[in-house]
């Protein structure tokens, strides 16, 4: 299995605090990798480093061989690595559809004259983007809400919109930061199915931070466990479930 994302010796230091210490793992092409660990283990910090929102103090991040660790966040997103946020960041005053259009900014004709004169290329690109947006809205079951303001959506709907917004960018790797937080069991099951569908039908690899053990154990192909900024275990869900180091990290000394 080829590695899509390679993280090598990643470290992140804030002044005196070492949040992430020499973390290495890889996300293979077509796999769903779960990243778990007790609170404060550094999972979101790892995400922020990989996605370019923090500049790591040390280490390397490679997407398909290309180095990402010195790039700013927006360029990493354009390379095909997209992410969601723990506290869903939508454009509240824009409609659901507009949110998806902004996400396709790079696929549109953004030149001033093209837009002002409504050239053929401009209109074609816009048409394609709209169709793409609508198709994703249908996939995440938000099609009837296309013209609603994003701020008026329910929590579960906002989550789905955020994922759709990532997917319209046609990414290679999707980073999900606690996507099940705040969802009820039915919504979690739907999320489970959605993530699997994203991998199987839309060919995207997934790196997933989650606290919901049921979800992450069920949906992940492999799991990496972080504790206090370090990797303490990596392997298949069944192995992780029984790993004594993992159990100790979560529950303390037995």
């Amino acid at each position: 299995m080829t590695a899509l994302l390679q993280v090598d010796g990643l470290s992140m230091r804030f002044g005196g605090l070492v949040a992430v210490d020499g973390v290495s793992f890889e996300v293979r092409l077509g796999e769903i990798l779960g990243l778990i660990g007790p609170n404060g283990a550094g999972k979101t910090t790892v995400f922020n480093c990989i996605s370019g929102f923090y500049r790591p103090t040390a280490g390397q991040v490679r997407l398909d061989g290309e180095r990402l660790d010195r790039e700013p966040g927006h360029r990493i997103a354009r390379r095909g690595l997209v992410r969601t946020f723990q506290n869903i960041r939508l454009f509240e005053n824009m409609t659901v559809l507009e949110n998806l259009l902004v996400a396709q900014h790079d696929h549109l004709d953004t030149r001033l004259w093209s837009g002002l004169l409504a050239t053929r290329r401009y209109r074609q690109r816009m048409r394609t983007a709209l169709d793409n947006a609508v198709s994703w809205l249908e996939t995440v079951d938000l099609a009837e809400l296309a013209d609603r303001e994003a701020g008026t959506l329910s929590y579960g709907q906002r989550r789905r919109l955020e994922i759709a917004r990532c997917m319209v960018q046609q990414p290679r790797l999707l980073l999900l930061d606690e996507p099940a937080a705040g969802l009820n069991p039915r919504e979690t099951a739907e999320l489970d199915a959605l993530i699997v569908a994203l991998r199987d039908k839309h060919g995207v690899s997934v790196l997933l931070i989650e606290h919901d053990m049921h979800l992450v154990m069920g949906v992940s192909d492999r799991i990496v466990v972080l504790d206090q900024g370090r990797v303490i275990a990596a392997g298949r869900p069944e192995q992780i479930r029984r790993d004594p180091a993992v159990i100790k990290a979560y529950l303390g000394e037995a």
Binding site: F14, F53, Y54, F85
Partner: protein, 308 residues
């Protein structure tokens, strides 16, 4: 000593004098920014009001028959500091406190309004023209050989340095030694936590404005002594320069404001002597732009990491 060296020393003397003034005003900016994250655009006007009140006090005392400079200055200083602090308190209470918690540009715009209001308030009550005061304190020390260039340190310059150092020392002692000062520092670091610990953050914030105003008033009086001139619009440019000093030293850091003030004063003195007096203001503004571009945290500031 060669003349050119003496001339340079003169610029250092002038620069330190100017720098003390900037430092006093810069501290006000930096304290307010450190505690509520807001640029008090109207702080320059507080300095201007301090100068005017000082002049009014001196004039009144002279009319009452008090002649001795040693009595006039402390009394005028005390009067101006007290009343100007009142202006500082009122400003926070009326124009900024109701806006706390809103988007960060809202208090900034309000501050611009306060600045315009105060400038015109003074202009309407005191007239639009400069008001000049005959030199209260004349004379100074001369260093260097007669016949060549002599370094001249006026008594006023010495007083400025002494008063500035005195005020800055008092402030530093207050902030580091007293419990109220500790409360200020705690509130600056984490307002919510400070409140949870029982600190009356509203009072602490008001106190910050008052202290800043007091220092600015002192600066105003010292300037009034030195240049003998006050004008309703003198606060605008000086305010921006003092803000530059605060940013240069590291916004939020009181020692930074002092350092930045001195550095800006020196830079301006040297620029005005060796380049051109007309463009000395451009020097200050350009320095501001450059600092914000290349080192926005300033010399003594700590780089902030954006929480995602």
């Amino acid at each position: 000593m060669p003349d050119s060296l003496l001339q340079a020393i003169q610029q250092v003397v002038n620069g330190l004098t100017l720098g003390s003034i900037y430092a006093l005003i810069a501290i006000g900016y930096t304290m307010v920014y450190g505690i509520i994250g807001m640029i008090n655009f109207a702080h320059g006007e507080i300095y201007m009001i301090g100068a005017y009140l000082g002049l009014i006090a001196v004039t009144a005392l002279v009319l009452l028959g008090i002649d001795s400079v040693w009595l006039l200055l402390p009394l005028a200083l005390a009067f101006s500091v007290i009343v100007t602090s009142g202006y500082g308190w009122a400003m926070e209470r009326i124009a900024y406190r109701p806006l706390r918690g809103r988007h960060r540009l809202v208090p900034l715009i309000s501050a611009i309004g306060v600045s315009i209001f105060l400038q015109n308030y003074v202009q309407l009550t005191q007239g639009a023209r400069d008001v000049a005061l005959a030199q209260l304190i004349r004379g100074g020390w001369r260093l260097g050989e007669a016949g060549g260039f002599q370094v001249y340190i006026s008594y006023v310059q010495a007083i400025i340095a002494v008063v500035a150092i005195l005020f800055m020392t008092l402030l530093t002692l207050f902030v580091s030694r007293t419990s109220l000062g500790r409360a200020c520092r705690a509130t600056a670091q984490d307002r919510v936590m400070a409140r949870l610990l029982g600190i009356d953050t509203d009072r602490v914030i008001a106190l910050t404005f008052v202290l800043g105003a007091a220092l600015a008033a002192a600066a105003g009086i010292l300037v009034m002594l030195h240049y003998g001139l006050v004008n309703a619009h003198m606060g605008f440019v000086v305010g921006i320069k003092a803000f530059t000093a605060a940013v240069l030293g590291g916004i939020g850091s009181i020692p930074g404001a002092m350092l930045g003030g001195v550095l800006l004063g020196l830079a301006e003195s040297f620029a005005s002597a060796y380049l051109s007096t007309q463009y000395k203001d451009v020097v200050a503004f350009s320095l501001l732009v450059l600092v914000l571009l290349f080192r926005p945290t300033g010399i003594l500031g700590r780089p902030e990491v954006e929480k995602v």
